[in-house]
């Protein structure tokens, strides 16, 4: 079978996500497209997790804290053989293993059931502390949204991670500017720096930059790390890009056809 390039795989997954969202009449497309590159690079090049290793004590942990972007996570879990295509395409149907927010009790490879924002980073801190106590060298990765980091628990978690020097923790902020509609966070890098983290700012759609930043964390970080990933909500489909209307909306048939055409 011809191995598709990363770029083509991302397009393929986006088209699959659009079809699923159209059929299910459910899904957060904007957020899913803003983090798809990040998740794909993590699972392909960075994380020490495979379907065979999902219960190993010596595995990396990945938490999608902004759980509404579940379509992206589910698509990548399918691509990496954690779930089957049939399961992916059953998204949000009555008996599906996949709901609008993924459930750790139902989905292979999902560490934390998500849905309520501001929880993932705190749980990640607990896992990272646990790995430190056990002297296990694996890493903990958590993806949070910029809207989500309004939650006090995000900042509380940074205090603890810094205080306990959890240099096995990498938090990736999907900085797609959702939050500009409420509290502007800039200068965000400055704020995160002041909490004692290594902060790496990247283009969250550039696979090389995602890989370099997360591998830098994996290999060299002496402090907990935040990757500030500048992303575009709805990336790859013009009508959706930076358009809040597409935060939680499924396309009709005409919209779907146009979007698929644009990605082809």
């Amino acid at each position: 079978m011809l191995k598709l390039s990363d770029k083509l795989i991302i397009k393929k997954l986006k088209k699959e996500i659009l079809e699923i969202c159209f059929n299910a009449k459910e899904g957060h497309l904007g957020s899913s497209f803003s983090i798809l590159d990040i998740l794909y690079v993590l699972y392909t090049h960075v994380l020490d997790i495979t379907p065979n290793k999902k219960n190993s004590n010596k595995r990396d942990y990945f938490i999608l804290s902004k759980g509404h972007a579940s379509l992206a996570h589910a698509a990548v879990l399918y691509e990496k053989n954690f779930i089957k295509l049939k399961e992916l395409r059953s998204y949000c149907s009555y008996d599906s293993i996949l709901g609008g927010h993924l459930d750790r009790k139902k989905v292979n490879g999902v560490e934390v059931s998500s849905g309520s924002l501001g929880h993932g980073i705190s749980i990640a801190v607990g896992i990272a502390l646990g790995l430190k106590i056990k002297k296990i060298q694996n890493k903990v990765f958590v993806v949070v949204g910029d809207g989500e980091i309004n939650e006090g628990t995000f900042w509380e978690s940074l205090l603890i991670a810094s205080n306990k020097n959890l240099n096995n923790l990498c938090c990736i902020v999907d900085y797609n500017r959702s939050n500009d509609l409420s509290i502007k966070l800039d200068p965000l890098k400055h704020k995160l720096d002041s909490f004692g983290f290594t902060v790496l700012e990247i283009d969250g759609h550039c696979h090389e930059e995602i890989r370099n930043a997360t591998m830098f964390f994996r290999k060299t970080s002496e402090k907990p790390t935040i990757v500030l990933a500048n992303t575009i909500k709805g990336k790859g489909v013009r009508v959706m890009e930076n358009n809040p209307e597409w935060h939680h909306k499924s396309p009709n048939i005409d919209e779907l056809n146009k979007m698929i055409k644009e990605l082809s």
Partner: protein
Amino acid sequence: MRKQLIDTMSKTLEKNKETVLLLGDIGVHGFRHAKKKFPNRVYNIGILEQTTVSLAAGLKIAGFTPTVHTIAPFLIERAYEQIKVDFCYQGLGGNLVTVGGSYDYAALGCTHHCPSDVMMINLLPNSEIFLPGHSNEFNNLFQTAYKNDHLSYFRLGEEENETHHEVKPYKNSIVKDINANTTIVCVGSTLKNVLLATKNLDVNIIYCTTVKPFDVNSLKKFLDGTLILIEPYASSVILDQIIVSHKMPNEIVSHNIPKKFIEKYGSKAEIDKLLGFDTKSIKNLILKHKNN
């Protein structure tokens, strides 16, 4: 009971290398020896209860058995969503141990009262609730439940019963059975005043320390008469479970803490009197409803 908590936790930390204790800046001095002995498994996380609960869930995912300890309103009411989502919904076991409920800190005002804790935890699937009435009982209950797959809530009181009972986890103790038509079911340290109030009364007495799951079967023999439930928190968590079990007694009286702010200060004993949990009030309640 705080002394017992320190003793029980210290021994558990010693014997089980996967036990981790997280303090919310409460009881830190009491745990100083444990902290010194197990610096990697005893943490004073600080005054950030929501994050502490989620962090504890993370420790469970990493293979540890977490216990979080602080004052009831700040742990149960403030971090309620974290308890619901990060333990109960995830299907993770862990332990919450509080002091201060319902109004043990009577003089400190409404922010430090917590009559709602038991009712709130009762609403959560995958949860268990224990209210020991004596220090010795806590150890037994904790040792049985602390490693299981449920969210286990232990509410410790400032006040204790005169003597401890050989309580079995998940079972009620029949303290007095004289085939009377009226049976008192009392929870935790309310037994003390119930015993004083019923000295010369013909009533049966059932003592409950596991509030959820409530041992409904223990009531079987007493369903023909009147059941008086005395629960030191808001809402009858026991009645809720009796109804669901379809094992209803002939007549039932529920006495618990009213759903209103307690605006008085003073001592716990004074608030007991205000809310009908002192010996005299309990006696009057029983006499009023006693089935002769």
